[in-house]
Symmetry: C2
Subunit: 415 residues, 2 copies
């Protein structure tokens, strides 16, 4: 008998028929002898709808009050899911994040989990119940309700699996696993039977939406095996994320795109006469860190002999106006400083192991894009990925070209 945690996102429980379907999946697992904890999100687009309602009252609703509002979404899901499981004749009990022992810091809207006290869930499992837990939410030591940010239900599921020392965490979603590229934009995309935490982290960070980044980190910390699988084809094995790499022989496990990035470029004269541009760069990134604004593709060209030095990076579209204001404040438009932003670009990322040690991979990407006359605006290369910024209208074609170039539609042999 294994202890497992299952997570079902909003699309998996978008209506009452789907709730009943998910209840059957949970009960089937329990009938196989597993101890089952089921983590659910709010139904369908409930969270977005509640945010819409709040915005009708206030353009920028108080974050504490917004959490008070949003946490009702998952609370409704767990109550209904628990009823649906009971209706199938299996005992079940619902838990809010707080009741499930999910303790967080008090940063409303994006709270991190500080501690999980799984005693109440363990007692429920010991009674033979399916424990149904509200994802995406927690409670502070002062009994304030918090949310964990987008994709937070994945984090709840993995954190609980860790705390319960579960054998596995199953992330049920609306796709059959992790693919070499988004199958909606590339029919030849192949599903990966397995994947390492590091590879999954890069895919999640660069645009694969199947699992949230923080939850992969948590799984990696405790080496918790995570299976990404389909709610609609629950017999399918999906993709197993462990320490084992997807691509023992190939370097690339997946191509992702993110159309939601905005590029910033600041050109400024080199240091002279007490004007210290690198100090400004440093204070910009200090401020971005304080505000928890993630940046990507950071590049600095600061050669002393160039007439203009350049700082470039990308941020998520949602942060764009704040970042622009920040740059304008810090540089206060001294003579010769040029700020350019571009939101018509897409970041395409190729994720694989040992990218920097295999320059032929980098060359292959450039060659494929160059042959198709696709312009590249920026390139950044890290240990596990290479990202290129290119015009959005060429993004899907670029995915196809690179996928073909590296024979990613061929079956991979798994070590």
């Amino acid at each position: 008998m294994a202890r497992i945690v299952q997570k079902f996102g909003g699309t998996s429980i978008a209506n009452l028929d789907l709730i009943k379907k998910v209840a059957r999946i949970a009960v089937a697992s329990a009938q196989e002898g597993h101890e089952v904890t089921t983590v659910v999100s709010a139904m369908g687009r409930t969270t977005d709808e509640l945010i819409g309602v709040a915005r009708q009252i206030s353009r920028s609703p108080n974050p504490r009050e917004l959490d008070m509002l949003l946490t009702t979404g998952e609370q409704q899901s767990v109550a209904l899911m628990s009823m649906a499981i009971q209706e199938l004749g299996w005992p079940a009990r619902s838990f809010t994040g707080g009741q499930a022992g999910i303790l967080t810091e008090s940063r409303h809207g994006t709270a991190n989990i500080k501690q999980v006290n799984p005693e109440a869930i363990e007692a429920s499992l010991n009674r033979g119940e399916i424990a149904v837990v509200a994802g995406f939410q927690g409670i502070t030591p002062g009994q304030e309700l918090t949310t964990l940010g987008r994709g937070g239900s994945d984090t709840t599921a993995v954190a609980l699996a860790n705390a319960l020392e579960a054998e596995r965490c199953d992330i049920y979603t609306d796709v059959r696993g992790v693919y070499t590229a988004d199958p909606r934009i590339l029919g030849e995309a192949r599903r990966l039977p397995c994947l390492s935490y590091e590879e999954m982290l890069e895919l999640a960070a660069t645009g694969a939406k199947v699992m949230n980044h923080r939850s992969v980190e948590l799984a990696m910390e405790k080496e918790m095996p995570v299976r990404i699988r389909s709610t609609f084809e629950p017999d399918d094995h999906g993709t197993l994320v462990t320490h084992r790499s997807a691509s023992p022989e190939y370097a690339i496990c997946g191509i992702t795109i993110d159309t939601n990035q905005v590029s910033f470029s600041v050109k400024f004269p080199p240091a002279e006469d007490g004007h210290k541009p690198l100090e400004s760069v440093s204070s910009l990134f200090t401020r971005l860190t304080e505000l928890h604004i993630p940046t990507d593709m950071i590049m600095l060209l600061a050669r002393e002999d160039e007439p203009l030095q350049e700082l470039a990076f990308t941020v998520d579209h949602g942060y764009s106006s704040r970042v622009q204001a920040m740059i304008e404040t810090i540089w206060q438009k001294p003579k010769g400083v040029l700020l350019t932003t571009d939101s018509t670009l897409t970041r395409l990322s190729i994720v694989g192991r040992t990218f920097t040690t295999r320059p032929e991979m980098v060359a292959g990407v450039f060659d494929a894009l160059h042959n198709a006359a696709i312009p590249v605006q920026m390139v950044a290369t890290g240990d596990l990925r290479m990202s290129v910024l290119l015009p959005t209208q060429h993004a899907h074609q670029a995915v196809k070209l690179i996928h073909e170039r590296f024979d990613m539609d061929k079956e991979l042999r798994v070590a």
Copy 2:
């Protein structure tokens, strides 16, 4: 500066415009210098809608899970109300029932409040905030979410007013106060400027829907003044409920009707041969008490010399099938026992002081009904009211006749 508690029911906050309107009422009170605690119900028909959703999953949803579901209704209201108050520039903070210190017993669906710990609310008021509290709900010492039953938000408001030692509890609703009869069925019905707790209790118990029975009891315990007033005409004084009677000179303060009562009559032979019908009557009422099923108009005719003795009473329609099954089990249909039920009747109640000591009032009621040839099926008289059971199709006419008979449309002089 007075400390006041305001309560707004579902119809008062049925949509976002009304939430903004109620926020203005709360802020206006705060601007007058009051310390304001605002208790709100779920918006509009949310609670009924959630029950409807639960019923699509289970015909008889688990009461604990139903409470988990229903408590989200008020939680959404307090978040939105708090945002709306903040949007007007006044500080506010929302509280679930549990956060507000409303501790209840664990009887899900109809939990009684055991204790109120108002420290968190007091801290909020001391910070100058409007405290916005979810009505209808509480928490058990084991952190289980509970609901207080229909009308429970009134109970929350009065219990908080008591615990906060407020100067007054204002129950805002969709009518302008308490009337001598339902103004929707009798245009001449007159609003009562004031009313005693005892009179309000009888009105609430017999069909007046403005305030729930338990909340009136709580107000009476601490002599908390309660003002019933209109959300839509907030400048209107409404009806003040205190120890002061509505009718110092007249005996009657109001006429109520309840179309939701079902009458039961059990006829059985007198005791003989070890068959002890009164023991059966006693066990029936013991069982009804255990199941918290309220009865009214209980009558027993048990004269030894009658061929059949009779027990009669009424219950709310919702309990009717359970009560019928109970009677059939207890009597197990011994020879000669006759069970009759009738759900086509309406209970009309005339509420006033010292009913039993003024037989001319009773005579007046009978005379008025008799002159109009309205048949009366059962009559019960208590200290503060007289109830008659008559065919539902004559109920409105009967209200009018009795209202006229006692000149209840005339202005009462208040002592």
